[in-house]
């Protein structure tokens, strides 16, 4: 194959059929021309649009003998069937067919589709190929017009100029379903909600109840279809609402309803513009103060006055001694704060300001043998119930000793 660079410097090209041959129905000519162009658009990023007036990139005409200002001429029946000019302004791209030929849509005479497809190869920048199987071979060869006429040589040629078809966008990965007993389980956000605790992870959430030994696994969308997946923070405010955060937005939820006019910007809460997302949030129900965690910093928000407290942000470790981590999720349960980071969770006494226990995040799901599989319930059904969940406060001597040992061991690490 041969080609001239740079070809058209664009991928969207227009064409216009200036006149029609009387040999064929207009619709048949339209079809032959369109299919002749599609031959090339099937293997390149090129797209062709037909226009009916004005100057198109590819002006198509049926002419005879010496015609207009065209520097090439036709020679009556047989001989030369058509010609076209390489990409460029003026005559560039223009394609002429010899009206003295007998144009057809099938095998008798000269098949307009085959000749047009060849000429459009020139109009796009290809020159003749000496490969006798190529459409760009100069001599007319009667091929089966139902078969795709390009040879590999033609495809290589045109792709040398315009590249291949644009790659299909990669299929989004199947969202993974989190496993409650995965020892590496982490949470995006955790919040209490009335008498429940909700653990958010990707598109899903788990719900546990304070006094019922049951856990439910649901799609977030099944409760609040308008919420996005991959929430980053959530908390329950003293007015029976939960606020969920993602990037610079937050939504307010009451029961099963996301309140109108949300999402709103987190900056309406008083965050400076440099804060682009919230890692975690928790409201102290006693003081009605909400703590927002952003990296190593925390802000305190007064739920009564709806303003940020002065003196913040503070370093998390300064306000919560022992918590020298970036917090993934936080919530308050029975007076204690629980901070999650990775697969670890820290029970924190906000009165004495120290860590009282360290445990796995999924301790709440009472996994008997934490492993990389679901337990007790079939999470593939997206909704499931576990049997016999016991909340941490149920006394377990061994767990208590385990906690004390870890507390002593890790307090030194995290301080």
């Amino acid at each position: 194959y041969g080609y001239t660079l740079p070809g058209w410097r664009k991928y969207n090209l227009t064409y216009r059929i200036i006149n029609y041959t009387p040999d064929m129905a207009r619709a048949a000519v339209d079809e032959a021309i369109q299919e002749g162009l599609e031959v090339w658009s099937k293997v390149t990023p090129l797209k062709f649009t037909k226009i009916s007036k004005g100057i198109a990139d590819i002006m198509i005409a049926f002419r005879t003998r010496v015609h207009g200002r065209c520097p090439r001429y036709f020679d009556g029946p047989l001989g030369v069937l058509g010609h076209a000019f390489p990409p460029g302004p003026g005559l560039g791209g223009d394609t002429h067919f010899d009206e003295d030929e007998n144009w057809t849509k099938d095998g008798a005479g000269f098949n307009l589709f085959l000749v047009a497809a060849h000429e459009f190869g020139h109009a796009l920048g290809l020159s003749h190929s000496n490969d006798q199987t190529a459409l760009m071979f100069p001599n007319y060869v009667s091929l089966d017009p139902r078969k795709y006429p390009l040879s590999q040589d033609d495809i290589n040629g045109i792709q040398s100029i315009y590249g291949g078809l644009p790659k299909e966008p990669a299929k989004p990965k199947e969202p993974t379903i989190p496993h409650a007993c995965d020892p590496d389980l982490t949470f995006d956000a955790i919040t209490t909600f009335r008498r429940e605790v909700m653990f958010f992870k990707g598109r899903h959430l788990w719900r546990i109840y304070y006094d019922i030994t049951d856990v439910e696994f649901e799609l977030i969308a099944s409760f609040w279809p308008s919420l996005p997946a991959d929430l980053q923070a959530a908390y329950e405010n003293p007015r029976d609402k939960i606020l969920v955060f993602k990037d610079e937005n937050f939504w307010m939820i009451r029961g099963y309803a996301v309140l109108p006019d949300y999402p709103k910007s987190i900056h309406t809460l008083g965050f400076p513009g440099r804060v682009k997302k919230i890692d975690a949030a928790v409201c102290d129900k006693t003081t009605r103060k909400t703590y927002f965690f952003v990296g190593i910093w925390c802000w305190r928000f007064d739920e009564m006055t709806q303003t940020m407290d002065k003196g913040f942000p503070q370093r998390v470790v300064k306000h919560f001694p022992g918590i020298s981590i970036r917090v993934d999720a936080a919530f308050q349960y029975k007076g204690f704060f629980f901070f999650s980071r990775g697969s670890k969770q820290f029970e924190y006494d906000i009165k004495t300001k120290n860590i009282t226990r360290i445990m796995r995040t999924n301790t709440w799901f009472q996994c008997k043998e934490p492993k990389n599989s679901s337990f007790g319930f079939d999470i593939n059904k997206e909704k499931a119930h576990s049997g016999g969940i016991k909340i941490l406060y149920h006394k377990s001597l061994s767990l208590f000793i385990f906690g004390i040992v870890h507390l002593l061991k890790n307090t030194s690490i995290y301080q």
Binding site: R72, V80, L81, D98
Partner: protein, 81 residues
Amino acid sequence: FPLVRMTENEENMQLAQAYLNQFYSLEIEGNHLVQSKNRSLIDDKIREMQAFFGLTVTGKLDSNTLEIMKTPRCGVPDVGQ
């Protein structure tokens, strides 16, 4: 008979010249040459054309070469576009 033969050869040579002019830049390259050199250029162009079409390269107007020249084709030159 010799007269007819000559005419046919002439016709073929005219056809070949027209073909080579149009598709192999013969006229552009040869218009400043003397006739003897022009003849040599025609032979070269015939070879070039034969090579392009995968014919036996002889530089002579044999039947296969003439057949190709008489086949309906695209009007865009094969060389020197």
